[in-house]
């Protein structure tokens, strides 16, 4: 059965104070994924870079 968004979850999703902290947390988390670098897949050892 499809998961539902409960009233409590919705309150948390739209609470500006809680969301302000989520904003900071998400920004950092996304930066980590993005700044985590990128590289090739064919010869990973020599090709990983974060250009």
């Amino acid at each position: 059965m499809t998961q539902r968004i409960s009233k409590y979850q919705r309150l948390k999703m739209m609470n500006p104070i809680l969301q302000f902290f989520r904003f900071i947390y998400l920004s950092i988390k996304i930066l980590i994924v993005v700044a985590g670098g990128h590289g090739g897949t064919r010869n990973i050892k020599s090709s990983t870079s974060s250009s």
Binding site: R22, H38, T48
Partner: protein, 485 residues
């Protein structure tokens, strides 16, 4: 002195040109050729299409910026490629055609030492009969002019609903092999929220139509993601959102024909069906621009450069789905026949789709083409620029900068409604973009933790912050390069 010509001034072309200019000494020439006089931050077209942003907020003219930054600019479109020159021109060149003023229709040879083809996709509306933005009550949000039209159509419908009209709204993909489901997903959630804001939500039936096999496929074969302290499949997350917003869905649908207010489609069971609507926003299929290429003796060599999109260092050998590998995906975006030509962003030909290919019982292929979103477009453009810079500076070919979509993360902040206190966003990150089933066999090819989803107001703020940050970066304001792609 080297001359680098960049075709296209979208996310990838503009990123490449700006990094080249910043890092290369002035004696080297950087020139951009693009038919549009403006730069547009395409992701914010969603908000133009719901009337919450004006198109002028998401664009700026390129010519003054390029003049100030010593980047050459030609408002023209590339027509043919001549990577060996011709009998009268020794240097490789691109034949371009002016699109405005005195140069309109006039063709000219633009020679280069290095060529970056960043022409993105052709919005191939013609591939679906009757799918013409602004007619047959169908719209698009793929460009700012399309988004302006979409808002005109939607606001007229909202006005009718306020007078008591019941309406059907259909949003999704307008072709059996369309991509960019993410943009349509954002638009449907934004439209739904606007209907509530205008207090007409109960007058409308809102339906998602898509070529995806499951919700949340997004052309990336879906994903297993961390959601709070749960592990969830992306289809479960999107189902939860659609249920919450009372949005219906039709999946595995290849839209084949549009008549005024009717979308005809075939589904994976091979059934031919139709769906009526009062307003539709359907993403067209994306294709290459149909460029031709010629050698020195004017012999057609299009197949050395193009396979729809541009051929790069990918493994294009046809093979069954089970044998697809992450190593098939390109790393340097260099054309194998002409090493001074590169194609980052959407302009390169992907080796295969990311979603599992599926056929209807009639043999019609119905599945999403692989998306190349803004972040990988920017990253691939920057690495292409860096390799060219290193090559010019060292005097010999350098390809140290690599970035396969199989070893690159992407963040997708999908707007789910506009408003500083009432807005919402679905923040999703994926690592890697192309699943690596060998490295992450138990988590559908992706690294959990780096692949996560989150819903809430913070997502809206994040999307808005990115809007301002990326326009700041594109305007090349002080320290713009510190903002990552």
């Amino acid at each position: 002195m080297a001359k680098i010509v960049v075709l296209g001034a979208g996310i990838s072309g503009h990123v490449a040109a700006s990094h080249l200019r910043r890092k290369l000494p002035k004696e080297h020439q950087v020139m951009v050729v693009s038919p549009n006089s403006n730069y547009q931050w395409i992701p914010s077209n969603i908000w133009v299409g719901i009337g919450r942003m004006k198109s002028k907020q998401i664009l700026f003219p390129l010519a003054p910026l390029y003049k100030k930054k010593h980047i050459g600019f030609k408002q023209a479109k590339a027509v043919t490629f001549h990577p060996e020159g011709d009998v009268t021109e020794n240097k490789p060149y691109v034949l371009v055609e002016g699109v405005v003023g005195d140069s309109k229709g006039k063709q000219e040879k633009v020679t280069y030492d290095y060529l970056i083809n960043a022409t993105g996709p052709k919005l191939n509306f013609e591939a679906t009969e009757g799918l013409i933005p602004g007619t047959n009550s169908t719209y698009s949000v793929c460009t700012y002019t399309h988004a302006d039209h979409a808002w005109e159509g939607l606001s007229a419908l909202i006005a009718d609903m306020k007078k008591g009209k019941k309406a059907k709204i259909l949003i999704g993909t307008g072709h059996a092999k369309a991509t960019c489901q993410g943009a349509a997903f954002e638009y449907i959630l934004n439209v739904e929220q606007e209907l509530r804001r205008h207090k007409v939500r109960d007058m409308a039936e809102v339906t998602w139509i898509s070529n995806e096999y499951q919700l949340g496929d997004f052309g990336m074969d879906g994903m297993l993601l961390s959601y709070g302290d749960m592990t969830m499949k992306s289809h479960e997350m999107v189902e939860m959102i659609f249920e919450d917003r009372d949005i219906k869905w039709i999946l595995g649908a290849g839209v084949q024909k549009i008549e005024n207010g009717i979308a005809h489609y075939e589904n994976l069971d091979g059934e031919k069906k139709s769906e009526t609507y009062d307003f539709a926003m359907l993403i067209p299929s994306f294709s290459g621009h149909g460029f031709k290429a010629f050698d020195k003796n004017n012999k057609d060599i299009t197949d050395k450069l193009f396979k729809g999109f541009m051929i790069v260092d990918a493994n294009y050998s046809p093979k069954p789905y089970e044998e697809w590998s992450v190593q098939d995906w390109p790393e340097t975006y260099q054309n194998p026949s002409y090493k001074n030509i590169f194609a980052p962003g959407i302009a390169f030909a992907p080796p295969h789709s990311i979603s599992k290919p599926r056929k209807s019982k009639n043999g019609t292929e119905i599945f999403p083409a692989p998306p190349r979103t803004g972040m990988p477009s920017g990253i691939t453009a920057k690495l292409v620029a860096d390799n060219i810079i290193d090559t010019i500076k060292s005097g010999k070919e350098q390809l140290h900068h690599k970035g396969s979509m199989g070893n690159m993360g992407a963040a997708c902040i999908a707007s789910a409604g506009f408003g500083m206190t009432s807005g919402s966003g679905v923040s999703i990150t994926t690592y890697p973009i192309v699943p690596d089933y060998e490295k992450y066999p138990k988590t559908q090819g992706r690294q959990l933790g780096k692949t996560f989803g989150e819903i809430g107001l913070a997502g809206h703020w994040l999307k808005l912050a990115l809007h301002y940050a990326f326009i700041y970066k594109a305007k090349m304001k002080p320290f713009w390069w510190l903002i990552p792609e």
